[in-house]
């Protein structure tokens, strides 16, 4: 479709301009460009990439258009971990505790989803929501008793791409970056397989087992990836929910490459949101607020279109 080609070209140009703008706004020195801006844009890219890709995958796996990366409770566990480290003054351990929180909630959701001996989408969804609520309650408790640390807590709950890396931490992050991209590729393969199996005409017993196995794998990989994003950047809503829908609207329904387009578009969108969040007022506002403001008009647009 010629239309599609134009969209790609425009998007490509937009992305390049955006990246240039992002890196050079406010005229940073070369040192700041390399040491501060570049890491930040890499983090923004990774988080947007993961959240949108995982969102697309979840919407297929759970067969639910409102599914998004945080729906299975991992984000609450990760946020809890990060916040715990923050209020204890262990600023350097916030990403580590965050990821540990993600692992713990992943284990609990996994365990709950298998109670009664079988595993299906509904149980997974319910377990995820329960675990999410549980950790959110804990976060509220911490918030109440640590009001002097409300700035730190808001940073985790509303998203913050300005994580200050220590030099060693940056080295680990580069490794995490590479591993995440590889995991995303794996997720792409799994999701494509799932899509093939679940949109086929034959629904047989053995097919059912394959689908179950796939869903499990997708759940674990996605949870690890989501845990990574929350550990470094806190909770950034709406990207994982809206971007898959936008991509589907442009490409017309679930395509096998949808997850890749979703991931790339999400990365660029988040970089744009971060650019706005940093520069719209004198003080930086949390990027989650910008993405939230995107969500509302988006859904209005969907409603208007679906009439």
């Amino acid at each position: 479709m010629k239309n599609r080609k134009w969209i790609f070209i425009l998007f490509g140009i937009f992305s390049i301009l955006l990246v240039v703008f992002y890196l050079f706004i406010n005229k940073p020195t070369t040192h700041i460009l390399i040491a501060v801006r570049l890491p930040r844009i890499m983090l923004a890219f990774l988080v947007g990439f993961i959240l949108s890709g995982v969102g697309y995958s979840f919407q297929i796996m759970l067969n639910n258009p409102l599914a998004e990366p945080y729906i299975l409770g991992i984000s609450s566990g990760a946020a809890f971990g990060s916040i715990l480290a923050g209020i204890l003054g262990l600023y350097l351990f916030m990403p580590l505790f965050g990821f540990a929180g993600a692992l713990i909630s992943l284990t609990i959701v996994w365990f709950l989803a298998h109670l009664g001996g079988f595993f299906n989408r509904t149980k997974l969804l319910l377990s995820g929501i329960i675990v999410g609520m549980f950790f959110s309650a804990f976060i509220s408790l911490i918030m109440y008793f640590n009001q002097q640390d409300i700035g730190n807590i808001i940073n985790v709950l509303m998203g913050n791409l300005g994580h200050i890396f220590s030099r060693r931490e940056w080295f680990y992050f580069v490794i995490v970056f590479i591993i995440s991209i590889l995991l995303m590729l794996y997720l792409f393969l799994l999701s494509r397989k799932l899509m093939i199996l679940t949109t086929g005409d034959i629904i047989a017993g053995s097919l059912g087992i394959d689908v179950k196995k796939l869903r499990r794998k997708i759940f674990i990989i996605s949870s690890l990836l989501t845990g990574i994003t929350v550990a470094y950047a806190g909770i950034i809503g709406f990207i994982g929910l809206i971007v898959p829908h936008i991509v589907r609207m442009i490409s017309g329904g679930n395509k096998r490459t949808g997850i890749i387009y979703s991931a790339i578009f999400g990365a660029v969108l988040l970089i744009m949101c971060d650019l706005i969040a940093m520069n719209i007022t004198i003080i930086e506002i949390p990027v989650g607020i910008i993405t939230a403001f995107l969500g509302c008009p988006f859904f209005l647009f969907i409603m208007a279109k679906s009439k």
Partner: protein
């Protein structure tokens, strides 16, 4: 008829009894702001303090006094049960607490000095309220004289004060700490900020290249600051002039209390030592 007279006389006795007990109550202070607690103690009002918040930790004898909560969470029932003659509150989030207390008909005085001038006025206001006006005026005058002897430095090093770790926050010249920095002969790299205590952009810290960094909160070490990616070019990091809570007690520069003398001395030592 007799019954009515009896009831009438009985009521009169009770009513006069009530007002009498108010006059005999004596001074009972509840203080929810650590800096005001320090001022009241310096003005010799310590023996009348019946309730404080957990943050009121100086002087040490305040630790034995009943606690009415912490900065954001005040137990109103506790305050009422202590039957205070006056409650001193702070500003900011405690404004809501002050209006709540006023609704409960408790004599509440919010005091939140934001400049050194405010601080001297606060001493007088407190002195008036607790009947120690003479001492208050003496204390305020003495402090004024000591402080006015400062602010005569020529070589002002660039200073970055970090009051919070995530997100990193600093102070402007208009804040209380900012004024102390000026008096101690330092050049705050953030003279103007959207608020007195504000979130800042780490890029700006690198660009403004402070010669001295002071951390006023626990948990962050000098090494951690020196390890921050991109911060290695900052003069303070290169020379190692990064000071934490073990070098200077943050309470003596963050609180508008009589201990600012100690705070100023500490800052001057840090800014101008060779």
């Amino acid at each position: 008829m007799k019954k009515i007279i009896l009831v009438f006389v009985f009521s009169l006795i009770i009513l006069t009894g009530c007002s009498k007990s108010k006059e005999l109550k004596g001074d009972r202070y509840v203080i929810t702001s650590p800096e005001i607690a320090e001022i009241v103690c310096l003005l010799e009002g310590a023996k009348n303090i019946v309730g404080v918040t957990i943050e009121c930790d100086y002087p040490k004898n305040l630790q034995e006094i009943e606690k009415v909560g912490n900065f954001g969470n005040i137990n109103y029932e506790k305050i009422i049960s202590l039957d205070p003659s006056v409650v001193f509150t702070s500003g900011l989030e405690q404004q809501a607490i002050a209006s709540q207390l006023k609704k409960l008909n408790i004599n509440t005085i919010p005091i939140y000095p934001q400049t050194i001038e405010d601080f001297f006025s606060a001493i007088i206001v407190i002195g008036e309220e607790i009947n120690k006006l003479d001492r208050a005026e003496f204390v305020a005058d003495s402090l004024k004289k000591i402080i006015q002897n400062y602010n005569k430095f020529t070589n002002l090093p660039r200073v970055y004060i970090e009051i919070y770790g995530n997100p990193i926050m600093s102070v402007s010249d208009e804040s209380f700490v900012g004024e102390l920095i000026t008096f101690a002969g330092g050049d705050n790299i953030f003279p103007k900020l959207p608020r007195d205590y504000s979130r800042i952009n780490p890029e700006e810290v690198i660009m403004n290249d402070p010669e001295i960094i002071i951390l006023t909160y626990p948990g962050m070490t000098k090494e951690q600051v020196m390890q921050r990616k991109g911060w290695e070019v900052i003069t303070a990091v290169k020379t190692g002039r990064i000071y934490t809570t073990s070098d200077i007690d943050p309470d003596v520069i963050l609180r508008a209390s009589p201990r600012i003398i100690e705070g100023l001395a500490g800052l001057i030592r840090i800014f101008h030592e060779k």
